[in-house]
Subunit: 188 residues, 2 copies
Amino acid sequence: MCGVSQDLSTTSYALLGLLVFDGSPSAGLTGYEVKQRADKTLRFYWVSPAMSQVYTELERLARTGLVSYTEEVAGQRRARRFTITACGQQRLQEWLAEPVESFPILKHPVALRLLMAGLVGPDRARTLLQDYLEQLAVRRQDLLEVRRSLGERAAVKYPAMVADWGLDYYDSEARIVQQLLDRLPSTG
Amino acid sequence: MCGVSQDLSTTSYALLGLLVFDGSPSAGLTGYEVKQRADKTLRFYWVSPAMSQVYTELERLARTGLVSYTEEVAGQRRARRFTITACGQQRLQEWLAEPVESFPILKHPVALRLLMAGLVGPDRARTLLQDYLEQLAVRRQDLLEVRRSLGERAAVKYPAMVADWGLDYYDSEARIVQQLLDRLPSTG
DNA sequence: TGTAGCATGTAAGCCGTTACATGATTGA
DNA sequence: TCAATCATGTAACGGCTTACATGCTACA
């Protein structure tokens, strides 16, 4: 059993991970619910895939036996609830045991623009950074709510650590951006 | 002139930006040189596109008149040197003036794995984070060399600010990861 | 009665990568 | 003469998004 088939994308493993942390493993999650959980946690450290991709990935994982599902048909629609299989858990654990080859990828539209700010001048650089500070505060608030919902339960110790990591990151990012603002020539 | 044609990808703008900072604007840069500069700076804040994509993008920018090139034929090969056009500079400035809609995207394989570390235990979590600290040190060193090469010249003030941002980011990341390590149960 | 949220999917297409193929130049 | 580096590209494909299409359920 558990034929290795081909490699999975990191996003596939991420979705498997969401299914593992499913609170009610007997029932499983719908694609819609998986997407909601991805929006809540995954988007801070990876990406939250589009709805359509969630379905595509779950379908693929089902075909390769890493997840299973129960189907309920209501009228013309079917509703599927997905659960990770023993194979799926094993694959996920193997993946977690592998050395991490890749460094984090940061796609930072603000830093990219600041790099070229010589073309548009310090006023634009300033608003760029100020706008970013505002976005950062919103994000931090979103993540803080996630962190609070985790509490101090031992079962979610690692997710809590990762959330704390994210909060610290946002704080340091805000500090750095503020310092950069201080380095810009003043308007007055 | 400067027909607006369609939207460019952020990566296209990034490449245009590399051409703007070309030290010798009369001669221009080859695709190969563009790739080298991307590897040097762009990869820290965006992505360094594959060689093949660099050529594809430059070709597209040339077709829409945002870059021009001079061609030298040597034997069976042609060597093209690309320069940004006035249109290209204008488009780039317009893009820089637009409000930034998107928040940075972080694809963090280490945080993603730590999230699920409950499946594999604290020892694996520890090596995960320790390995990451090592990678981080290497990266920081790479970026530090870039920073040093920029010096304090006014012409590269903004690139220097962005490099400093990156260095501060790596430092704070290392600090946070060290704190997380301290929270893990000790092996002994 | 209509709209918001729950729920599922297909199709088209872009962005980007890896693999592959080729050739020129320089120096050990 | 062989390897490294400079240099240019094509082909195939994967991952992911947007746009589109559909239908059920609850509630205002």
